[in-house]
């Protein structure tokens, strides 16, 4: 009986740990989003999938090695929506200072001003989260960039672009919900 109880507690603890590691890196956002009807969409190489609200538009790209999944709620005006771009890229990404500097340099080249850099866990993997902003065609864009490696020498680069500053926290939460739904196929 005690063993059974212990097993339950252990299982619950493991599940909780799994839950928190799933999107632990986003815990600062303290998101509470309402439920929406979603559809599961797989990337062009069937390597991963995301749960996307049914009325969003999704475009899948691939070249010989990289798979890109771009999705957005195009039923809304630009200043009320956001874009999510998820790229699965071949190669090793060690999240050390040199990598962090390279990523920062790339983002700066693309006109992003970096606000904050944070390390944490996402899908039980060590991840790097960068928040940034830029001005483009008189519109403020807030960016959130997430990087994490897989064991099979591929890494994810996920970018959320949130246009305008109206309800941006709420929109980031909606986007984070989509990102947290990421399922990686082995």
């Amino acid at each position: 009986m005690n063993l059974l109880k212990f097993s339950f507690i252990l299982m619950a603890l493991m599940l909780c740990a799994g839950c928190s590691n799933n999107g632990e890196i986003f815990k600062d956002y303290n998101c509470k989003t309402s439920a929406v009807q979603t559809k599961q969409i797989k990337d062009a190489y069937l390597k991963f999938s995301l749960e996307v609200p049914i009325n969003w538009k999704t475009e899948l790209y691939m070249d010989q090695s990289t798979s890109i999944f771009a999705t957005a709620d195009t039923t809304k005006q630009l200043s009320e929506t956001f874009l999510i771009k998820t790229s699965l890229i071949p190669g090793l990404l060690r999240l050390n200072q040199a990598t962090s500097d390279t990523i920062k340099s790339e983002l700066t080249k693309n006109q992003w001003h970096i606000n904050r850099i944070k390390k944490g866990l996402f899908k039980n993997a060590e991840a790097l989260l960068i928040t940034s902003q830029k001005q483009q065609s008189n519109i403020k864009i807030e960016g959130l960039h997430l990087y994490f490696s897989l064991e099979n020498e591929h890494y994810f680069e996920i970018e959320i672009q949130c246009f305008g500053d109206k309800n941006s926290d709420e929109r980031f939460c909606q986007a984070i919900k989509v990102i947290n739904s990421l399922i990686i196929n082995e």
Binding site: A44, L60, T74, L78
Partner: protein, 344 residues
């Protein structure tokens, strides 16, 4: 010079110097509502039909007099309309997301419930535009759900619609899709139909036989990002045409975002490169202008050219999604929460 008057509309009028022609421009809002108006279809010189983002379908006159068609909106959809087309007796509206429903309305009986004449349950269905070439032949197009664009056609005035098999269409390139910006991805002249795409590739599909067979030509248009490409296309006749667009997320970008053809879309030449306008969601020819006068609209303003797209003048900074030009001096404009008239 700005005039403000009347309780429900705003009149904006000013003069601009364009290619040594003075244009007087007047914009008057005739409808205010909490909806997006991207799908407009001119019915005659004084009336435009609309289908909006709230599932409403109707007609509005220059005077602002509006009537709505009766529609039973299903609960499994947000009923967001971005495509509209008409024949002499019927009006058609098509929503963007899945399930896609194509409604047929009797123009003489607007109190009669619109009938769903085509249903696409494919979860990837996303229709962008619709067009009738005459009272019998119509076409609607959407993003690829397989390895080709989604194309449906009718030859019986919209009573029945058939999906074109991918084996009869050119293959779509990875990342190539279309933008449901203003119901102007399709253009036609005589038996020719053209369809414009965007995204990773910006190309123009062409059929010379009412959609029976298709080919595709590459363009020098901006491409390469999910949000770059051709957002709108117009043909003055079977030879002279224009494609416009840019990047929805970078409204001032004006690199390779306007191109013209003088040979029916076989080749395209970039015009007005690196000068305004930037992002354009809709472009239309002014009738009886010999293919020289066009008006383009985007969320940043309204632009006029009198020399076939080579030089453009911003005639208003008021943003709109779509335009339907009904004669040499009048157009209807559709925007966020508004339908307006443009006198030029």
């Amino acid at each position: 010079m700005i005039y403000r008057g009347f309780s429900f509309f705003m009149v904006l009028s000013f003069y601009s110097l364009s290619a040594q022609i003075i244009d007087k421009v007047e914009i008057k809002t005739i409808l205010n509502a909490n909806a997006g108006y991207r799908a407009l279809e001119a019915l005659n010189d004084s009336t435009v039909a609309f289908a909006n983002s709230n599932g409403e379908v109707g007609e509005i006159a220059l005077s602002g007099k509006t009537r709505y068609y009766k529609i039973d909106l299903p609960k499994d959809s947000s009923n967001h309309f971005r495509a509209i087309a008409s024949t002499s007796n019927y009006l058609f509206a098509l929503n963007i997301e899945s399930p896609a429903r194509l409604y047929k309305f009797d123009k003489q009986r607007y109190n009669q419930l619109g009938k769903v004449v085509f249903l696409d349950n494919n979860p990837k269905a996303f229709y962008d535009a619709m067009y009738f070439l005459d009272d019998k032949n119509g076409i609607a197009m959407g993003d690829p759900t397989d390895d080709c664009l989604t194309i449906i056609t009718t030859i019986d005035g919209g009573t029945t619609w058939q999906k074109t098999d991918c084996k009869n269409l050119p293959k779509i390139e990875p990342g190539e899709a279309a933008f449901a910006a203003s119901n102007t991805n399709i253009a036609s002249s005589k038996k020719n139909i053209w369809i414009a795409t965007g995204g990773l590739k910006s190309r123009v599909f062409h059929s010379a036989n009412l959609g029976k067979t298709w080919n595709v030509c590459v363009t020098p248009f901006i491409q390469g990002k999910p949000t770059t490409g051709i957002y709108s296309m117009a043909f003055y006749n079977s030879k002279i045409g224009i494609i416009c667009g840019g990047d929805y997320t970078d409204k001032s970008a004006n690199l390779n975002n306007k191109a013209i053809t003088n040979n029916g879309g076989k080749t395209w030449k970039i015009v007005a490169n690196n000068v305004l306008p930037g992002y354009i969601s809709c472009v239309q020819f002014v009738p009886n202008s010999n293919g020289k006068s066009l008006i383009a609209v985007g969320t940043e303003g309204i632009y006029l050219t009198r020399n076939g797209g080579n030089n453009w003048t911003e005639i208003s900074t008021e943003g709109f999604y779509s335009i339907q030009i009904v004669n040499e001096h009048t157009a209807f404009l559709g925007g966020q929460g508004t339908i307006a008239t443009l006198k030029f």
